[in-house]
């Protein structure tokens, strides 16, 4: 018997619908509409986490993901890895798994989920490229409609949002569908495996912090970051030592 969220299979189905909707909308917001940063991992993961039942669990995933992909930018025609798709699918998979195991999103569950879904960031970039190639067809349609004297030719613009929405919605729904398997794996971990996975999550955090320093593209950034890190650690240790 697979571990399911408290409400059983109907609950899982509802979570699939919610994750598909929010994941799909985030794919649109990321580049096609508004760009008020609702699709960044640090917002999307807690938001989707809240919608499927555990905002705090979403935040546990969102912060290291945000740091890992902090330096990725869309400059002209070059596309960054798709951090939103990864954040959406990971939250959709790991948060319901945490509900099913009654542990919430802890280090081992997060590390397990990230190991499984990390390639989605690269896959998402390919998907973006493909959907942009396909938008060329919309351009041709607009051009021929304008040539025929149709003044509303450019309205095809909004149809470019359909493909990113559908792809991300489907992938996030699959994430929810895979959550019982991840929950099962988490429940079958022994003490040693749990400690090892917990360690993995800490080291992922270390890589995320390094990515964050790299994301500040400035020659003084590493020195400034090192000074600040040492100061914060020293002050914290001194403060704890006094008590």
């Amino acid at each position: 018997m697979l571990p399911l969220p408290p409400g059983g299979a109907p609950h899982l189905f509802v979570l699939m619908v919610i994750a598909a909707l929010i994941g799909g909308l985030s794919a649109i917001e990321r580049k096609g509409a508004f760009q008020v940063m609702l699709s960044r991992p640090i917002v999307l993961a807690p938001l989707l986490g809240w919608a499927v039942g555990d905002a705090q669990g979403g935040l546990v995933l969102g912060i290291p993901l945000e740091l890992l992909f902090l330096g990725g930018v869309n400059l002209g025609g070059s596309l960054p890895d798709n951090e939103s798709l990864l954040a959406g699918a990971l939250t959709a998979m790991v948060v319901p798994a945490g509900l099913a195991t009654r542990t919430g999103v802890d280090g081992p569950l997060a590390a397990l989920g990230l190991a499984l879904l990390l390639p989605l960031a690269l896959f998402g970039r390919r998907l973006d490229r493909a959907s942009e190639e396909r938008n060329t067809q919309l351009l041709e349609e607009a051009l021929s409609r304008a040539a025929r004297g149709d003044p509303s030719a450019a309205r095809v613009n909004l149809r470019g949002l359909l493909l990113p929405f559908g792809a991300a919605a489907g992938i996030c729904a699959l994430g929810v569908l895979a959550s019982p398997l991840v929950a099962l794996a988490r429940l079958n971990c022994g003490a040693l495996a749990l400690a090892a996975l917990e360690g993995s999550w800490h080291v992922v955090w270390a890589v995320a912090a390094a990515c964050a320093v790299r994301a500040i593209r400035d020659s003084r950034a590493p020195a400034l970051a090192a000074i600040c890190a040492v100061t914060v650690v020293a002050i914290t240790l001194a403060f704890r030592g006094l008590r």
Binding site: R40, A146, L161
Partner: protein
């Protein structure tokens, strides 16, 4: 809502159909359509104007608002017969690249990482409130600037270049980046303290050395491989230290 309001609203969808051939051209033509509808009552003339705006266009999605506003003003002159249609086209192609560079440098490479780092650094104290820190810090700059750019573009047309130059957007970037570097350091310290305390100095040292190692090797490894190596290293040593 007036035509200008609808143009601004549609500018939010500038990249909905971003394509390699024309880049933001479909979004631009769609955004300016409500203004063209007022200026060219004859549908055939209007379709010709829309077709002109289907030419190649690319810029930063926020800074493009200034060019869009300016293009509306120039289209008014064209519709009144005061200027030839080419004036709009050369305005767009002249301002696109420099404004793109300005927007990329300020919004993508400075404001966004710094706002996100401020949120990550304050999360231990604010919890869920850190999400608001990010959204408010970013959008309190983004949305007013976008509206200001559009309005200034419309009011000043070619004069928008001077107005943007006087806004000193680029000059705030080094200070923002310094804040970002300090915040990144604080975030790194948080990772070290979280792993190491209480009573796990080896785990803290492990995380600290992994940060330095990852920083040094990231350009060669790339983020994906670095994360998989980290997961592997963590699995191997994690069971012993934690």
């Amino acid at each position: 809502m007036g035509a200008l309001g609808r143009v601004f609203l549609r500018s939010m969808f500038l990249q909905a159909a971003w394509n390699p051939r024309g880049m933001q051209n479909l979004g631009f033509a769609d955004a300016i359509s409500p203004a063209l509808a007022d200026l060219y009552p004859d549908p055939v003339e209007r379709a010709k104007a829309v077709a002109r705006h289907l030419e190649f266009f690319n810029c930063h999605p926020y800074l493009a608002a200034a060019i869009l506003g300016g293009a509306v003003r120039l289209e008014e002159r064209v519709a009144n017969g005061e200027a030839p249609p080419q004036i709009v086209s050369s305005f767009k192609s002249a301002l696109g690249p420099p404004f793109a560079a300005l927007g990329d440098g300020f919004f993508w490479l400075a404001l966004r990482p710094v706002a996100a780092l401020a949120a990550a650094a304050t999360q231990p104290f604010l919890g869920m409130g850190c999400v608001l820190v990010f959204l408010v810090l970013y959008n309190a700059v983004h949305l007013p600037v976008r509206l200001w750019l559009f309005a200034t573009g419309y009011l000043r047309a070619e004069g928008v270049v001077d107005a943007v130059a006087r806004a000193h957007m680029a000059s705030g970037t080094p200070f923002l980046k310094a804040c970002g570097a300090a915040l990144a350091g604080a975030v790194a310290a948080r990772g070290i303290l979280h792993a190491g305390i209480p009573g796990r100095p080896f785990a803290a040292l492990l995380v600290a050395s992994m940060i330095v190692l990852a920083w040094a090797t990231l350009p060669r490894l790339g983020a994906t491989r670095a994360v998989y190596i980290a997961l592997g290293v963590g699995l191997v040593v994690g069971a012993r230290f934690l």
